[in-house]
């Protein structure tokens, strides 16, 4: 299914929460473990601009549709960060730009060489490497949709659940872009398939695992996907990934949770 970039850009908007009754957080405050998961998700959303960096070093940014998508996608994710920060703010947790900067500074040398690695791979391998990014992005966005929907259901909160459903709805459009790009690029090149399969099976980790502590990753993944219903959701994400050309049989999300002991091996 082709992705209609004009339709997407024309209807792209920052997620709104004006009409939601945030006072509900005063009468029904969220439990500690949910706030911890929301904080994690908030950081991930704000961090999108750093993922954008990895995408931009490949030749794909010169393609008109890709750069239009990146512009809108990046802004939508920023607003997801703002929305979650507003929820956290109702619980006395302030997320400000200085803290985000401090988090990024803590990433240290790994973060410094990341763009170097990406730039070398992206520019020396060329177009085939773009397929890796697109498939990786699809896996991440599928995970994000599932995570938001899971939390909306787990909490069943009058203000939080509708907000998370709105965010998940926007993420489904990101899925559509990444998956259609990935499918098209993988279908064209066996080399791209091999590279992507290698990258996903060897290097993929849960969204946010590259910027968060192992404890936080385990907490969030356990919170959202540790139950029987969560495990089924993870299997659905893996089934989607496995449908991409050349990715048959991959179970990267399930594997990453089993490796962390979040779900039974």
């Amino acid at each position: 299914m082709a992705f209609d970039i004009d339709q997407y850009t024309e209807t792209s908007e920052g997620v709104g929460w004006d009409d939601l009754d945030f006072d509900a957080f005063k009468t029904h405050p969220l439990p500690e473990q949910t706030l911890r998961s929301l904080r994690y998700m908030c950081d991930v959303e704000y961090h999108t601009v750093c993922y954008l960096r990895d995408l931009l070093v490949t030749p794909s940014h010169k393609e008109r549709d890709v750069s239009a998508f990146m512009t809108m996608w990046n802004r939508e994710e920023f607003w997801h960060g703002e929305a979650l920060a507003a929820v956290l703010g109702m619980h006395g947790i302030t997320v400000d730009f200085d803290q985000l900067k401090a988090t990024r500074l803590k990433l240290g040398w790994r973060d410094k060489i990341a763009p170097l690695k990406q730039a070398i791979a992206g520019n020396l391998i060329g177009d085939d490497f773009v397929a890796v990014h697109m498939s990786w992005g699809a896996a991440n966005e599928w995970s994000a949709v599932a995570a938001y929907r899971r939390l909306a259901k787990l909490e069943d909160h009058p203000a939080l659940s509708p907000l998370l459903k709105r965010i998940a709805q926007q993420e489904t459009r990101h899925v559509a872009f990444y998956a259609s790009q990935a499918r098209e690029r993988l279908a064209k090149s066996k080399v791209a398939q091999k590279l992507t399969r290698l990258a996903l099976s060897k290097a993929w980790g849960p969204v946010g695992s590259s910027i968060s502590s192992d404890d936080d990753v385990k907490h969030v993944m356990g919170h959202l996907f540790g139950s029987e219903e969560g495990v089924k959701e993870v299997a659905r994400i893996d089934a989607n990934i496995a449908k991409l050309p050349g990715m048959e049989g991959l179970t990267i999300v399930g594997d990453s949770l089993r490796k962390r002991g979040v779900v039974a091996a």
Partner: protein, 303 residues
């Protein structure tokens, strides 16, 4: 709307080193009030009655491409320590969004002139094209190494580059507006200038604070700016077209005024950036640029 504690306007005292640059510019407010598509406010039928001439359309086309080149600019910014500054990246997210729609409005004007076809671009020569393609591939590799060695000072280079580019394109929009009798075209440019206003304000305030507090940053900025192509994005354009852009929209008095504003910043006196850009540089100078830039960075690092 539930207001966030406006965390980007600090209310505490800072010593000089921890001073938040451009503290008077509220990034969250900017993001909240971003300008999206201008299509609804355009009266494209006005161009059927009163079409723009070919030379003007060519300049509109050129400006649309410059406004569209945000991802290429973000690429060179995000591989450096500038990406750590969450206030700047939050600004850039919205800046790119607004510029996308500025370019879209300009493209709508072009599409309202079905007879318009861009002049056959001579494009860069084959050798130049090869050099640029190689440079394009290696630039992020080079930059991710060098800029990370330099550290925080490189942020000032990016904000100064941003303000110079903003002043330059702003002057071009104004000249287009002043030179046209088409009221719809003038009104659109006026609206787009209103959107661009805050881009200039952010970069200018950032630059002022960063250059003021760090002479090392000012020195680095001076060296890097001198080696930059203006306006940003022009490096990918036909040099003849870039020359026509300067001739048509940036008369010497405008150039002198912008250069004077740039040179009022600490450490940037006597740069003559746009004057040099307009008069053009010999090819040999350009060929030495990449090498020179790296050498300057390394020297700056060693000092």
């Amino acid at each position: 709307m539930t207001q966030l504690g406006d965390a980007d306007a600090p209310d505490r005292q800072h010593d000089d080193a921890s001073l938040v640059p451009a503290a008077e510019f509220t990034v969250r407010e900017f993001a909240r009030t971003a300008a999206g598509s201008h299509r609804d406010s355009l009266d494209l039928a006005a161009y059927e009655r009163e079409p723009l001439d070919g030379a003007t359309l060519e300049l509109v086309d050129f400006l649309a491409r410059l406004e569209r080149s945000t991802m290429a600019q973000l690429r060179s910014v995000l591989v450096t320590p500038t990406h750590k500054d969450a206030r700047i990246t939050a600004f850039l997210v919205t800046w790119a969004y607004e510029k996308y729609w500025i370019a879209d409005a300009l493209e709508a004007v072009l599409s309202a002139h079905p007879g318009y076809a861009p002049a056959e671009s001579r494009g860069p020569g084959r050798l130049t094209a090869l050099r640029r393609s190689l440079a394009d591939r290696f630039e992020p590799i080079r930059e991710s190494v060098v800029a990370n060695l330099i550290g925080e000072d490189v942020v000032a280079v990016h904000t100064t580059t941003g303000v110079v580019d903003e002043w330059t394109t702003r002057a071009a929009f104004e000249a287009l507006r002043d030179g046209s009798a088409n009221t719809e075209f003038r009104a659109m440019l006026e609206r787009l200038l209103g959107v661009k206003e805050r881009h200039g304000a952010f970069f200018a305030a950032q630059t002022r604070d960063r250059l003021r507090r760090s002479p090392k940053a000012a020195k680095l900025t001076r060296k890097r700016l001198a080696r930059q192509h203006w306006p940003l994005g022009a490096i990918d354009e036909d040099p003849q077209l870039a020359a026509r852009f300067f001739d048509a929209l940036l008369p010497d008095a405008t150039i002198a005024a912008i250069d004077a504003r740039v040179e009022a910043y600490p450490g940037l006196a006597g740069l003559g950036l746009l004057r040099r850009a307009k008069s053009g540089q010999p090819a040999i100078t350009r060929a030495a640029e990449a090498l020179g830039r790296t050498a300057a960075d390394v020297r700056n690092r060693i000092r």
